[in-house]
């Protein structure tokens, strides 16, 4: 399979005053194949949203490359960048605040086409997109405040898909929705992926949701990837101690709880060596000195740990 999105050695740092820097994303590499869904999980503050934005050059990453269908976005400027960005669309967490409250649904969905200068069959494409996401025709003239959260999220998805992108990045798209509506949106994303043949990057803190929708899952901790594996594999036999702890802390997880103590260290001064060592039950002296590299231990299953759990 060919990779639609290739991210290599992505680094994002923000100045934090007094000469300090927030190490939000540190040397993250991954790729997404055509038609594939990659899940990205981690606790808040681990850098998953920053990765999503850096892919779109919002803001430009400190270093690293982001290739979409072979074209390096980090090398593009101005008009060329804006045109290339059309292939990558974002769906945000809060569906209500991500839509302009003064605009009608049709205009919201047509706007990206208008900006792209598409004139031909614009109306038709908009109504087709609205229909595809399961919105009734009468919603077309409504404004966001007249819709429910679930409906607004459908509008956001329609708006992302109307430009026929190659990749849709969903940043916690169901986190602010009710459980009963969440399943509708997850099923919709699954259907849209096939209908529009796009690849998805699905970001969430909810492991059960990520497992349901993803082909592969990448686990992030404090700005770094610690494990990447096929979804079923990752949950059946997690190798990184952090992944194990994450899975164990899900209320419905079977077996004893391998509890994680403490909290995320500051990204201003990340721990030396392995960033997880300060909370890791298996940490040894080597973990503080030497940084583990993401290595493939089983076919398709990579882990960054000196002492992975077999």
């Amino acid at each position: 399979m060919t990779a639609v999105l290739e991210v290599e050695h992505l680094v994002v740092e923000f100045p934090a005053g007094r000469g300090q820097r927030v190490h939000a994303v540190s040397d993250v590499s991954f790729d997404v194949a055509e038609g594939e869904t990659l899940g990205l999980v981690g606790e808040s503050g681990c850098g998953k949203s920053t990765v999503a934005r850096a892919v779109l050059q919002l803001p430009r990453p400190t270093s690293g490359t982001v290739r979409v269908s072979g074209r390096d976005l980090t090398a593009l400027r101005g008009k060329a960048l804006r045109a290339a960005r059309r292939d990558v669309q974002l769906v945000f967490q809060d569906p209500i605040s991500s839509l302009n409250p003064r605009r009608r649904v049709t205009d919201l969905v047509a706007e990206p086409l208008a900006i792209a200068g598409v004139r031909e069959a614009r109306r038709h494409r908009v109504s087709a997109a609205l229909e595809a996401v399961g919105l009734p025709p009468e919603v077309a003239d409504a404004r966001p405040h007249q819709l429910s959260g679930g409906q607004c999220q459908r509008v956001s998805i329609a708006r992302a898909l109307v430009q026929e992108p190659k990749i849709v990045i969903c940043d916690e798209p169901v986190s602010s929705l009710d459980v009963s509506v969440q399943a509708q949106i997850l099923n919709l994303l699954e259907d849209m992926k096939h209908r529009y043949s796009v690849s998805l990057v699905f970001i969430s803190h909810d492991l059960a949701v990520v497992k349901n929708i993803s082909d592969r899952v990448a686990v992030m901790y404090l700005g770094k990837l610690c494990e990447v594996a096929p979804a079923d594999d990752l949950y059946r036999s997690p190798m990184h101690p952090y992944t194990r702890a994450l899975i164990a802390s899900i209320p419905s997880a079977p077996g004893p709880r391998a509890k994680l103590t403490g909290e995320l260290p500051s990204p201003l001064q990340p721990p030396s060596g392995c960033r997880f060592r300060t909370r890791c039950p298996l940490a040894q002296a080597r973990c503080a000195q030497e940084e583990p590299v993401l290595t493939e231990r089983q076919p398709g299953h990579a882990v960054a740990c000196h002492f992975p759990v077999a």
Binding site: S148, D178, V179, S180, A183, I213, A245, K259, L260
Partner: protein
């Protein structure tokens, strides 16, 4: 049911009878809580589950008289705490109950604390007011409490301000404040929703330990059945302002009677399913509560509904074989 549990239910700690709270809203009235009754035995953990807008938070606040007076369009029913109707108490008498006998923990630990007071001062406040402790004594107790809820180096932390602490640590402080006067009942409204999964497990375990230690009853409110599942003795499911099912926690998971509960359990992705398992979504959304509703409130979204469901609302009842498993349905699962 054991004899002990029977006597406990005979003299409940909390007995809510037909509680109604209708709120004023721009377009009219919202029937947020519409006739809710339940009982809680001393030391019991009741999980209260429902989607947003089902009325759980309005109900929880109404128990302690925390609903702003100007927002109430209509309120009735009784909230009997150890036989005393809290709804009949005046503000001053209520203040002696709040924080002392009944404590509450809210969802958002960021806004529950006063940003310009040290956490030590906030911990000392209820103890000085309710228990009459002196300044020094209250501070010593505060340090002990911080230690109990798992805050590292409590002697130092006691002088910190809330912004020095992370979300999980703040929720621990909020819990310490709630527990400072040894309440008999703790109402925890989505105590972990704003927190990360790993921290969520820590806080829920802590609530469980403290509940056990202090033999305190807990109403644990959440939109997430799974969160409440392993920790509650009984579960009550709310939908559109009403309790639609109430039973022992295991029974709700293993054999729900109410179609809504069953649908809710099925719509949640589970870790034991392979990836790409199609989810059984519940069509539509909960009804608006601004008009009187006829029939079963779940009927428009229910696969079993027929004309009877749409015209006549079932009462919260039980089968003779399982008198403790209450449900509100004509055609139970």
């Amino acid at each position: 049911m054991t004899l002990l549990a029977q006597t406990a239910l005979a003299t409940p700690l909390l007995d809510v009878r037909d509680l109604v709270v209708h709120l004023r809203a721009p377009g009219g009235t919202v029937r947020a809580v519409d006739g809710v009754s339940f009982r809680l035995a001393p030391g019991e953990v009741l999980g209260l589950v429902g989607e947003s807008g089902s009325g759980k938070t309005v109900m929880a606040r109404a128990l302690l008289g925390l609903t702003p007076r100007h927002a109430i369009a209509r309120a009735s029913g009784e909230v009997l705490f150890l036989g005393r109707d809290l709804r009949a108490l005046g503000e001053r008498a209520l203040r002696d109950v709040r924080g002392r006998e009944v404590a509450m923990v809210f969802q958002d630990p960021m806004t529950a604390l006063n940003p310009v007071m040290t956490i030590g001062a906030q911990l000392a406040e209820p103890m000085r007011h309710h228990l009459g402790l002196g300044r020094r004594e209250a501070r010593t107790r505060a340090i002990e409490l911080l230690e109990r809820v798992g805050i590292p180096s409590p002697q130092r932390r006691v002088s910190d301000y809330p912004h020095h602490l992370s979300g999980g640590m703040r929720q621990r402080v909020v819990l310490a404040i709630a527990l400072s006067c040894g309440p008999k009942l703790l109402i925890a409204d989505e105590p972990t929703t704003a927190l990360d999964v790993t921290v969520q497990a820590q806080i829920l375990d802590l609530i469980g330990d403290l509940q056990h230690e202090q033999q305190m009853a807990v109403v644990l409110i959440s939109h997430d059945l799974e969160v409440v599942g392993g920790r509650a003795d009984r579960i009550a499911v709310m939908y559109a302002g009403r309790i639609v099912e109430q039973a022992a926690a295991r029974a709700v998971f293993d054999a729900p009677r109410m179609p809504y509960t069953e649908a809710l359990l099925r719509s949640v992705p589970r870790l034991d399913q392979p990836s790409h398992t199609r989810l059984e979504a519940i069509p539509g959304r909960p009804p608006g509560l601004d008009a009187a509703l006829v029939g079963c409130r779940f009927a428009p979204r229910c696969p079993r509904a027929d004309d009877r469901c749409r015209s006549e609302e079932p009462a919260l009842g039980a089968d003779d074989a399982a008198p403790d498993h209450l449900y509100r349905c004509w055609y139970p699962v």
